[in-house]
């Protein structure tokens, strides 16, 4: 059993009841208030959640993964400070622009860092980003396939003359954005359907179980490739929705099993005997137990979505829009055998992110419940491409 049990059922809580009884005051209060007193008294004691969090924090690998992940998230969020064709802050023709690369003011249309720096007007100044190249900025012919550390390109350029550093940095945003968005949707669908299937039973349960079986049989990568080819105007959103709408299955299966387990416990029977409505049983007793596994699954889910997204872009049938992506950058490497920097840097970015996500996910799973060991793999296996 994992997750949070109602406080009055743990041994610590019964001790707390004992304590509060000795103190006396709660006896004078009405029954409804005494429950909150018990909660307060029990607070310093360890709950399952606290145990999980503490254990998670103790794991060295989990800390490492979390730190790396935090860095990757920072890069994704502040990608425009690291690499952009427009400065962070600049004064141009008398007006000051903050993050023009994000706000896209009409006055600066067509301008780039490099061009403006060449002939600065009097009184103008710029605060350039770390690398003054945007991910989609195509350079002049001589800038094609530059090795790293040449001409202001710290990681070189690709076959279209685009800066690899900028593409890796902005690819982080694509990968994490798509991964997180898809994971949120699929966790929502999976928890909802799994909980209702387990709770309602009967026909609804059968239908959900059949749907899970049927969807599981279709390889994600194949499905995403084919849907991308059949839809008239495929975008990254197409990929996101394809994954989100088909990969909730493993989570639904897990949540359903968890719900069935919880429904058989004594405290649910007790709650029912006390007259709790089905909604209350579901919301207070059943769902809290499913939250832990769902979070673990979400972590692995993000990793899987990133993996599929990269694989699809690698196979050159990804978004035709010029959104930077690691997979697309790695795909570039296939056609240019000599350019090692095209495979090393995006590949490293992808690998580091996936390793970090898996580290955090595994540690969370172990911390949550030692018995869950191995479940995460079962969960994500269907999604690997």
């Amino acid at each position: 059993m994992s997750g949070e049990q109602p406080a009055h059922e743990t041994p610590e809580a019964s001790a707390a009841i004992e304590l509060s009884r000795r103190k006396g005051p709660s006896r004078k209060k009405r029954a409804g208030d005494s429950l909150s007193d018990i909660r307060q008294a029990a607070a310093p004691y360890l709950t399952m959640t606290r145990i999980a969090v503490l254990q998670l924090a103790r794991s060295r690998l989990a800390r490492l993964g979390a730190i790396v992940l935090a860095c990757v998230c920072m890069v994704a969020v502040f990608a425009d400070l690291f690499a952009s064709d427009l400065p962070i802050v600049c004064r141009w023709k008398g007006s000051v622009y903050v993050l023009p690369g994000v706000t896209h003011p009409a006055a600066l249309a067509g301008a780039t860092c490099a061009r403006e720096a060449r002939n600065p007007a009097p009184g103008d100044w710029t605060l350039p980003p770390l690398v003054a190249h945007g991910p989609t900025e195509a350079a002049e012919a001589e800038d094609i396939l530059r090795p790293p550390l040449t001409h202001g390109h710290p990681l070189g350029t690709d076959a279209l003359g685009r800066d690899v550093f900028a593409r890796v940095v902005h690819g982080t945003r694509t990968a994490l954005g798509v991964g997180t968005a898809a994971a949120i949707v699929l966790v929502a669908i999976g928890v909802m359907l799994g909980a209702f299937a387990g709770f309602a039973g009967g026909l609804l349960d059968s239908i959900v179980t059949r749907a899970v079986e049927s969807l599981t049989a279709i390889p994600t990568l194949v499905l995403v490739l084919v849907v991308g080819a059949l839809v008239p105007h495929p975008t990254t959103a197409t990929l996101l929705w394809t994954i989100a709408l088909t990969r909730w299955t493993d989570l639904a299966r897990l949540v359903r099993a968890e719900v069935l387990l919880t429904l058989g416990t004594d405290y649910v029977t007790a709650a029912r005997a006390l007259g709790a409505s089905p909604t209350r049983v579901l919301a207070r007793h059943v769902l809290p137990n499913a939250i832990g596994p769902a979070l673990v699954a979400a972590t692995f889910g993000i990793a899987s979505v990133i993996l599929v997204e990269a694989a699809v872009d690698f196979l050159r049938v990804g978004s035709p829009d010029t959104m930077a992506s690691w997979g697309e950058a790695l795909g570039e490497a296939r056609a240019n055998a000599g350019a090692w920097w095209l495979i090393v840097f995006p590949g490293a970015a992808l690998l580091v992110t996936l390793v970090a996500l898996n580290l955090v996910g595994e540690a969370a799973r172990d911390a949550l419940d030692p018995k869950l060991r191995g479940v995460g793999e079962e969960l994500t296996e269907g999604m690997r491409g």
Partner: protein, 517 residues
């Protein structure tokens, strides 16, 4: 065991139906060629003949799941007769429809001709003129006069009504197949589209090249479409033409054949987009490739062995390595071997297959061993499944080692290696291999990637070419084929493990059947 096998297979049927529904829904994502997005007025009837044909090939003219009013030759003829006879605004379309329906419509038009008012009769007879011309019984100028045309058709039906029966036509086709001659071919051409059902059925059973050429010529003459074949046509051309005709017939059969009796009831479900698509898929007819006109089923058969082969070898290779690595790692938990192998497996687990494949390809290229493509592809594919299975094996082994009977065995003084192999590993093996079924979809996805990277002519490689060429028939077939293959693979692994460990049976059936966890 038999009962278990039957139950397991029965539980697969709803799953397969569900899969077919999902794949069907995916196929509906492909844009409708005649959607208003193309800029036409959607109300304009029969837009472009080619667009109309493309829509029909995907059954877009049919409702999705339930057809409350299935169309057949009778209803189509009735519509065309009503409009051609009335000479209203849709008379031209009706005349074209009559020309298309041809001889198959005669049994529903000509007997009723007498009963029509003279004007309608004349108009209808003239509208049928092109058919008379096509079957070589009248010239265009003879059929332009309403009275003469009506007289012609009355006389035609008096003479020939007996030829337009199913029994007669089957006899005629059988004679042609038995002894092909120009005269017998001519007989069938006279019957026009009425002969199509028997002619195309004969194409499926016949394999004599000359006879097939004759049959396709008859079909071509009646429908004014299809590839032109002569005596010099090669066997390949004939084969493709026959595939094309059978495909066409599957789509258009109800234009020329009446639905009656029990067929009328079933047609409510079969004459729908899903019904037609499913019937064709079950029969192994997956359409014709848009790139080279080959039947998809043949192409799949040609490319599938590569994919199946590399998947199987990769799976076997990964198991042979994963079981000892995982089991030994668990046995020596937290020792050097365990720590190192766990770390390596974790890294492998996180490494995307395509990155690994690309790195292997480059490494092999640098070493001058770029020709070992199949071997490298298998290694790249096996790596992902090795990482997964060895981690499962380790977990399962740790779980078993914690149990009492292992401790008892150690306490009794059983040698360590025997405890490890006989007591622990034997029991830790089953869950690992059962979980392997879960790896199948990922394995197929990985196979697509390595085929593309190493240029192996498997299903995945061909799929990526099909994506470039927008060959939607192939893409739809591939999703269905992989889904069915994975489902069957799952059943197969479950069977094997159910046979190995009877305790697992209930669990296996229930996992699929899912009454309780």
């Amino acid at each position: 065991m038999l009962r278990y096998a039957l139950r397991r297979i029965l539980w697969t049927i709803p799953t397969l139906i569900g899969t077919s529904l999902i794949v069907f829904l995916v196929t509906t994502l492909a844009p409708d060629p005649a959607s208003p997005a193309s800029g036409d007025d959607p109300r304009a009837p029969a837009r472009d003949a080619r667009v109309e044909e493309a829509r029909r090939a995907r059954f877009l003219d049919l409702p999705r799941f339930v057809n409350s009013d299935p169309q057949d030759i009778r209803s189509r003829t009735a519509w065309a007769v009503a409009h051609a006879g009335a000479g209203d605004s849709q008379a031209d379309i009706a005349a074209a429809e009559l020309r298309r329906l041809g001889g198959a419509a005669f049994p529903y038009v000509l007997p009723a001709l007498e009963a029509l008012p003279p004007e309608a009769r004349g108009r209808l007879a003239v509208a049928l003129g092109p058919v008379a011309e096509r079957i070589g019984l009248a010239r265009a100028d003879e059929m332009s006069d309403p009275q003469a045309a009506a007289l012609f058709w009355t006389r035609f039906w008096d003479d020939r009504a007996l030829d337009f029966t199913r029994a007669a036509i089957e006899r005629t086709v059988a004679r042609l197949v038995e002894h092909g001659s120009d005269l017998r071919e001519e007989d069938l051409v006279r019957l026009d589209t009425f002969a199509l059902a028997a002619v195309i059925a004969a194409m499926g059973t016949e394999d004599d090249r000359m006879t097939l050429v004759r049959l396709t010529r008859i079909a071509r003459h009646a429908t004014e479409r299809g590839p032109k074949l002569g005596l010099a046509s090669t066997a390949g051309e004939v084969r493709r033409a026959v595939a094309d005709w059978r495909e066409w017939w599957f789509v258009h059969a109800t234009d020329f054949v009446a639905i009656d009796g029990a067929g009328g009831v079933v047609a409510v479900l079969t004459e729908t987009r899903y019904g037609k698509w499913l019937r064709r898929a079950v029969g192994g007819e997956l359409g014709v490739s848009a790139t080279d006109g080959e039947p998809i089923a043949d192409k799949l058969r040609a490319h599938a062995p590569v994919t199946v082969l590399i998947c199987t070898i990769a799976l076997l290779l990964s198991w042979t390595l994963a079981v000892p690595i995982g089991a030994y790692g668990a046995w020596r938990q937290r020792r050097t071997f365990d720590v190192v192998s766990s770390a390596v497996m974790f890294l492998l687990y996180a490494t995307p297959t395509f990155v690994l494949a690309e790195l292997l390809r480059r490494a092999a290229g640098a070493l001058g061993r770029g020709d070992a493509r199949v071997g490298l592809a298998v290694v790249a594919l096996a790596a992902a499944s090795l990482a997964t299975s060895s981690r499962w094996q380790r977990t399962a082994m740790l779980e078993v080692m914690r149990q009492d009977f292992v401790r008892t065995a150690v306490a009794k003084g059983v040698p360590a290696w025997r405890v490890a192999v006989d007591h622990a590993l034997r029991n830790a093996l089953a869950p690992t291999v059962t979980l392997a079924g879960l790896h199948l979809p990922a394995l197929v996805g990985g196979a697509f990637v390595v085929e593309e990277v190493f240029g192996l002519p498997g299903v995945g490689f061909e799929t990526l070419r099909a994506i470039e060429a927008h060959d939607s028939a192939w893409l739809m077939a591939v999703v269905l084929a992989t889904a069915v293959a994975v489902t069957l693979g799952l059943v197969l692994t479950d069977m094997v493990y159910g046979a190995l460990d009877p305790r697992l049976r209930e669990e296996l059936v229930r996992r699929q059947g899912g009454r309780a966890a």
